[in-house]
Amino acid sequence: MPIVLETVNLEKRFGGIVATNDVSLRVEKGARHALIGPNGAGKTTIINLLTGVLAPTAGKILLDDNDITGVSAHGRVRLGIARTFQINQLFPDLTPLDTLGLAVSERLGSGHDWWRIVGTKSQVVDEVIALLEQFHLVDVMEERTAILPYGKQRLLEIAVAIACKPRVLLLDEPAAGVPEDERHDILSTVAALPKDVTVLLIEHDMDLVFSFADRISVLVNGALFVEGKPDEVARDPRVKAVYLGEEAHV
């Protein structure tokens, strides 16, 4: 399989702290790739570097072999990288309907359109309907996002990313904080993503990781530690050591 997203010796320093240390990560097209590691390992920093929220101190990021290190955050979305956030980043005053309508409009390039009224483009409307139904948001589509139950907000968080029709989707702990009875909705929507979408998942829930991923990278102290197929990673004594809290023998 061709490599769709790649980092080359990626490094990020915050003052004296090295949050990302010489990470060379390769994500194959169509992969279900998980990035795991203990708290503070620098997983979210990598997502922020990949999406252009943070600029790396050194190293390169390649999308389909093109260097995108200097591309702005919004530019990378246009190139097909979308993400969800570990802590919901939504528009509290807008409804799910508005939020998805906006995301789809932006993707279709009508975001500059200042004359047309929202909702008069039928392609936008069709896609919004599909998303509302897929993510079980129909009954709350006209509520303010701020007052939605947490599980619904979490679904919307993923729906907004999907509305960008990404080729590469970065999921930062999609099920974090979701009550047990609402987890299923989230897991099933994640599992039902189209096969041609490449997914990089950050997750603490090992059940979810092992049921979902076909490739796992383990990050420790900002550096790539182990990478392999799920069963290889699961058997690796060094990974067990890290997760049991022992010092790693590198």
Binding site: T51, V53, S72, A73, H74, V77, R78, A82, R83, F85, Q89, L90, F91, P92, D93, L94, L97, D98, T99, G101, L102, A103, S105, E106, R107, S110, G111, H112, D113, W114, W115, R116, I117, V118, G119, T120, S122, V124, V125, D126, V128, I129, L132, E133, V138, M141, E142, V160, A161, A163, C164
Partner: protein
């Protein structure tokens, strides 16, 4: 039980905020009927219309994009001087055309200064906008050969509007002119805020991080609305210069920018009518209280401000929300039936 989502249902729900509410129609009927109802009050009515347009301008950036400004008078002043100079030197004689040119001049200034405003937080924005207004006031002050300096720009003679309507001494035509411009500019603003572009501004105000994560070029959109809003302020200033046949340094004053925030705090932001209602209340209070207690009227304005902020700006901002929500809900039921 669940009605299937049809294209028309969702399309209408998405466009719901663009629907004309009966209260809105009532508002404009009342506004235009003032032409016949209060023939002796044209001067203050004109002032209200101008302040309303000026406040509409600030609402576009504050209420929709979340940019706070304490120097919006910069654009008001630029528009006013542009209009006065165009008329005085007979560069553009027809007032409506001169108005458009003046608005574009203010827009150009807004575009250039917008890059300063993009940076930083609310506090830095307040300081930068304040500074920009001071700079323009001083520019007008120092270039007396062009602007008349501290004496103001005198000797402006206005030609009839569209070559037909003279600015009469009672201010009738002036008021009709200002109110009509306000209405047209309002319609345009209404269109803008209900477009995908307008929705993207709201999203930036809500969460710029997420806005850029769905592919919105945040800075570009902010520059765009700041430029548009500057044009609105410029048109308001130009209208004042045209109706008074005069322009003065006072148009750039800090008081004017500060009053404008007060107007929006009174009327509320983010639904376009806030500036209009606020302008009416503010001018009415100004007029009424200064007759009642000539020396102390700022006391009452100050008291009102304190009370409003103590009650909570959030609540003031959204005091019309129940009406709007009610309207939206009724509409929604209707569409459900249509769709089912």
């Amino acid at each position: 039980m669940k009605t299937p989502l049809t294209n028309s249902v969702v399309s209408r729900a998405l466009a719901a905020r663009a629907h004309w509410h009966p209260l809105e129609i009532l508002f404009w009927v009342a506004a235009f009927s003032s032409i016949w109802l209060f023939p002796g009050k044209y001067l203050i009515l004109t002032e209200i219309a101008l302040l309303a347009l000026f406040a509409l301008s600030l609402d576009l950036i504050l209420g929709y994009a979340g940019i706070v400004s304490l120097g919006h008078a910069a654009f008001f002043g630029v528009g006013a001087y542009a209009a006065a100079l165009l008329a005085k030197h007979e560069l553009v004689n027809e007032p409506v055309l001169a108005l458009i040119v003046s608005g574009l001049a203010a827009s150009a200034v807004g575009f250039v200064t917008s890059f300063l405003v993009l940076r930083g937080t609310d506090l830095t924005r307040i300081m930068v906008t304040l500074g920009v207004a001071f700079v323009f006031r001083e520019l007008a002050n120092q270039n007396g050969w062009l602007t008349g300096g501290a004496d103001g720009l005198q000797g402006v003679t206005m030609q009839p509007i569209l070559g037909l309507f003279r600015f009469d001494m009672f201010g009738h035509n002036g008021y009709v002119y200002c109110l009509t411009v306000l209405f047209v500019m309002f319609l345009l603003a209404r269109r803008i805020v209900n477009s995908p572009f307008g929705l993207s501004l709201l999203s930036i105000k809500n969460n710029p991080l997420r806005a850029s994560a769905i592919g919105i070029n945040v800075n570009f959109r902010l520059v765009a609305i700041y430029t548009i809003a500057a044009g609105y302020a410029g048109v308001a200033g130009a209208l004042l210069a045209q109706t008074q046949a005069f322009a003065s340094l006072a148009y750039f004053d800090f008081d004017r920018s500060a009053d404008l925030l007060l107007v929006l705090i009174i009327g509320g932001t983010g639904y376009l009518y806030g500036g209009l209602i606020g302008a009416f209340v503010f001018k009415f209070m100004h007029d009424y209280l200064s007759v009642l207690t000539p020396q102390y009227w700022p006391f009452w304005i100050g008291l009102l401000l304190v009370v409003i902020v103590m009650i909570g700006r959030e609540r003031i901002t959204s005091w019309t929300l129940p009406f709007r929500k009610l309207g939206g809900r009724l509409d929604w039921r209707r569409y459900r039936k249509d769709g089912a």
